[in-house]
């Protein structure tokens, strides 16, 4: 017993020593591992290799975007700049930047809700950059002072479970109007707009399209079909994919389809709410040049095509070849959305919504 305890103490001490002298966690992956990952995308000789091998720190990116791994590898293979990505919702990134108060822990903020970027730009948390590639991007998709630039269009869609529709004997809803049909009672899943940017964009779109009075009347009726409001944006597509509900109001519905679930993705014919998912450089970055290269790259035609490939969304740059399952902007009836108004009225609308539907 006695000897045992002495040995244990010794062992623990040895472990502590090992711990404090042990190795650091894995840094970036070796650049050599990368090229085999994307064989269908031949690395063109045209894509100019960096003049000299990149020797700086890996680029640190906070992202709310699909296909991050592919994007990181593709960017690295084309520019030689290693990338470390961290997936984080834009609300989290903003809260964190505020808490850090001027000490940048990353270089690039990539993707997410446009309102967070607007707030961050206002508070001086972003570093302006007029990318030469941004010239090709429509004015409505970018900030005039270059604080952020839209990369792709996020579309608010209905994810509809097909087997469940058959089971229930109902049609697949194609418009916002039809979604209020009593046949869909208890079958529509939507997140709380106070939490989800998708849901807020959807209800603000309804109010903008129909006007203040009719907009709220519509939401009153829609509320009859919604059993409860989800507390996270990813719940509706998940519930619809698994057949817990018929319809999930969701951004990027194609993801559920690509995953292989028996769903149909509907772009509401009477107005598809949307926003542009931006890229921005974080103020105080230690790696400005590489950050600018990343911004340039995601805005090039090749970069945009690649993004659309791995994260199925329409591009902000015109005439970019899109995968077959991604609709072009011309095919859609996009809501004529006033972002400034929506940002201004957010508190009031969310408050009113909370009063009406959660008490």
């Amino acid at each position: 017993m006695e000897r045992k305890s002495i040995l244990s103490i010794l062992l623990v001490l040895v472990i502590i020593m090992a711990l404090f002298t042990g190795c650091q966690p894995a840094p970036a992956e070796e650049p050599t591992e990368v090229s085999e990952e994307t064989p269908e995308q031949p690395v063109e000789a045209a894509a100019e290799p960096a003049d000299e091998p990149y020797t700086g720190e890996p680029l640190q990116i906070y992202a709310a975007y699909g296909g991050l791994e592919e994007i990181a590898q593709k960017f690295e293979s084309e520019t030689g700049i290693p990338v470390e990505m961290l997936s984080m919702s834009s609300g989290e990134v903003l809260s964190r930047m505020r808490a850090e108060a001027g000490r940048a822990l990353g270089d690039v903020w990539f993707g997410g809700g446009i309102d967070s970027f607007m707030v961050a730009a206002e508070e001086g948390l972003l570093h302006p950059y007029q990318s030469p590639e941004a010239i090709s991007i429509e004015d409505r998709f970018k900030d005039q002072e270059g604080y952020w630039t839209g990369v792709s269009i996020v579309l608010v869609t209905f994810v509809v479970n097909k087997p469940l529709a058959e089971e229930l004997g109902v049609d697949i809803p194609r418009t916002w109007e039809s979604l209020t049909d009593p046949a869909y009672q208890g079958e529509v899943s939507m997140p709380n707009p106070g939490i989800s940017g998708t849901a807020y964009t959807a209800i603000a779109s309804m109010i903008q399209m129909r006007g203040e009075v009719a907009g709220w009347e519509y939401l009153d009726v829609l509320d009859q079909n919604i059993p409860y409001y989800a507390e996270r944006g990813s719940e509706p597509p998940q519930q619809a994919s698994l057949g817990e509900v018929l319809v999930g109001i969701s951004p990027d519905g194609i993801n559920s389809l690509r995953e292989g679930y028996p769903v149909e993705v509907v772009y509401p014919e009477d107005g598809t709410p949307w926003w542009h998912s931006p890229v921005a450089i974080i103020e105080g970055t230690q790696n400005l040049e590489a950050a600018q290269k990343f911004v340039d790259w995601v805005l090039t035609e090749e970069g945009q095509a690649f993004l659309a490939e791995v994260s199925p969304r329409p591009s902000t740059r015109p005439n970019v070849p899109l995968p077959e399952d991604v609709p072009t902007l011309d095919e859609l009836n996009l809501v004529d959305y006033d972002f400034a108004w929506a940002a201004q009225e957010r508190d009031r609308i969310v408050e009113e919504w909370t009063q009406r539907y959660t008490q």
Binding site: M1, E2, K4, S5, I6, L7, S8, I9, L11, V12, I15, I16, L19, Q24, P25, A26, E29, E37, P58, Q60, Y62, E69, E84, M85, L86, S87, M88, S89, G91, E92, L94, S95, R96, R98, A99, E100, R103, V119, L164, G194, I195, P227, Y228, Y229, A230, E231, R232, P237, Q238, Q239, S241, L242, G243, E244, D252, E259, G260, Y261, T358, Q359
Partner: protein, 562 residues
């Protein structure tokens, strides 16, 4: 010769005195710095805005809607805590006080349960028991609603039963089986033994696990958000205020309210345990893992049934995740496929390395902090004692996200510019794990009482001697509980480090979160499966480390015999 020996003893004593003084200063300073200081920062944030005093957040908190929030919180927390402790007790008794065959398997199920990553469990529940779920719908033809407060309670009970089991069983194994045996020999019925001997001796464990779980449920925002169906509690409200309204001050205020509730619970714990000083000076042999059949619990059948159901559920859950990882479309297309592993292979290996790096460090260093804090707590009096207790228990009451934010606010500039380093992630995990080892060490020390130490010293042993030979071996179960829980917790943690992690230190649970949140459930299952497998391997490794001293002894003895 004699003189020399004398000076060696003197030197030893001097070294140990310095060491003790050092620990007695270092641990409280560490706690002040990494528990108290960030919380104070947070507190100031709750009523100090733009350089002005501002109590609007507190006024908001007292408004009508928040009565509902408080009621919801208390309802969910009390019922989950009660049920989880009962379930944990049942599992403990089924393992240690029954004759059920293969009861050791319950132990592994309880450990496996702790490994299940939070987001995935909820999805598995939907797949099994949901509207189109395999068991409830296709097998039994039922249609159950899987959202709402009852679902929060179910998931919380299952998730926390393992903690209750770990804490209660570590206390139970410290009880001398001879006490129960003597009671039986003196003619008491099994019921009487259970109610008048076993249960009272277990009381510190029951109460300690109850307060841990209470704080745990109180602070958990994930489950209510996942399955609450709009049923909001204080913790989820704080999280939502932080992430959607970017309202740091209000989130801090809500955290203060949470802190108030949990410190109230700990006060109750103190009061309950005050009059119940159950002293058992004879600490049972640590090695006696085999159950003594004479101490069979009267409710073995019920315990066995509950433990079996619990274990079955956990195992089914694991196999469902495995199925998701290796099939084409989780829950829909069951053909074998490795595509999820292929698409994510680099990310899996990188994030796994990071997770293991953090987990091993926290698991091995962390419990020492908790144990030394508990030892200091036991030895000190008055204000210091209260302060240590509160600081060591506070981390469980603070929602992970808020704790992370408070760390960012406290440590983002010199002299303590720690944000962005691996160190701060390790520290925050250690601090969050502190209550587990602290509480189990406290529960054990409570049983021992100071007499044992006094006796040892009266017999001439030095302080250091007493500490290493008596206290440390007694505390090993607490170290083990803290180590295992710490390892597991760091592997699956997300809330506390979400604001501290940088792209370099991405962990595997983050990747699960990301995959599930972007609708790639299969990929999420692949990550989750990898996580479970490597956590099991890691735990096996830690167990091996644990067994090593005994192994060495045996080898040495064999050598000596030869």
């Amino acid at each position: 010769m004699l003189k020399n020996g004398h000076s060696v003893i003197l030197n030893k004593r001097r070294i140990s005195d310095v060491l003790f003084a050092g620990i007695a200063v270092a641990v409280p300073v560490f706690l002040l710095l990494f528990v108290f200081f960030p919380l104070v920062k947070m507190l100031t944030y709750s009523f100090f805005q733009n350089g002005q005093w501002n109590f609007s957040h507190y006024q908001q908190l007292l408004g009508g809607r928040y009565i509902t929030l408080f009621r919801n919180t208390l309802l969910v927390t009390f019922s989950s805590t009660f049920l989880a402790v009962m379930l944990g007790l049942s599992v403990t008794l089924a393992i240690h006080r029954s004759r059920i065959r293969f009861r050791k398997l319950f132990h592994y199920a309880a450990i496996l349960n702790m490994i299940s990553p939070p987001f995935v469990s909820a999805i598995v529940f939907i797949m099994l028991f949901g509207r189109r779920g395999l068991i409830a719908n296709r097998l039994l033809g039922m249609s159950i609603t899987l959202v709402g407060p009852q679902m929060i309670v179910v998931l919380q009970t299952i998730a926390n039963a393992s903690i209750a089991y770990l804490v209660i069983s570590s206390v139970l194994r410290g009880i001398d089986p001879n006490i129960e045996k003597s009671a039986t020999d003196l003619g008491a019925s099994r019921y009487r033994v259970f109610y008048t001997v076993t249960l009272p001796l277990l009381a510190p464990g029951l109460i300690a696990s109850a307060s841990l779980i209470f704080a745990n449920v109180l602070a958990d925002f994930g489950t209510p958000i996942l399955v609450g169906g709009g049923y909001r509690v204080l913790a989820s409200e704080a999280y939502i205020q932080l992430l959607s309204n970017y309202n740091l001050g209000y989130a801090a205020t809500l955290s203060v309210a949470l802190l108030f509730l949990s410190s109230w619970m700990f006060t109750v714990e103190r009061l309950l345990l005050k009059n119940k000083e159950f002293v058992s000076a004879n600490i049972a042999e640590q090695t006696s893992e085999l159950v003594d059949h004479t101490n069979e619990n009267p409710y073995s059948l019920l315990n066995g049934l509950l433990a079996t159901l619990f274990s079955l559920l956990i195992v089914t859950q694991f196999f469902t995740v495995a199925a998701g990882a290796f099939t084409n479309v989780w829950g829909y297309d069951f053909s074998f496929s490795l595509r999820h592993f292929q698409t994510a292979r680099f990310q899996i290996s990188k994030s796994l390395q990071n997770s293991l790096y953090f987990a091993f460090r926290v698991a091995l260093i962390g419990p020492m902090l908790g144990i030394t804090a508990a030892y200091l707590y036991q030895r000190s009096r008055g204000l210091v004692r209260t302060a240590i207790n509160h600081m060591a228990m506070a981390p469980f009451a603070v929602p992970g996200t808020v704790m992370g934010i408070s760390y960012v606010m406290a440590f983002n500039r010199p002299p303590l510019a720690l944000t962005g380093t691996a160190m701060i992630i390790i520290i925050v995990c250690m601090i969050r794990e502190l209550p587990i080892s602290f509480n189990s060490a406290k529960a054990i020390l409570k049983q021992v009482s100071n007499n044992l130490e006094e006796a040892s010293r009266d017999l001439g042993a030095s302080r250091w001697h007493t500490f290493t030979r008596i206290i440390v071996p007694i505390l090993f179960p607490a170290y083990k509980a803290g180590m295992l829980h710490g390892f597991i917790h760091v592997m699956i943690t997300i809330g506390a480090i979400i604001f501290l992690i940088t792209p370099r230190y991405v962990t595997i649970t983050f990747e699960i979160f990301r995959a599930v949140n972007s609708g790639r459930l299969g990929e999420g299952a692949a990550y989750a499966f990898t996580l479970v497998v490597f956590t099991v391997l890691g735990l096996a490794g830690l167990h091996l480390l644990w067994k090593m001293p005994a192994l060495f002894c045996r080898i040495k003895e064999k050598m000596a015999v030869k």
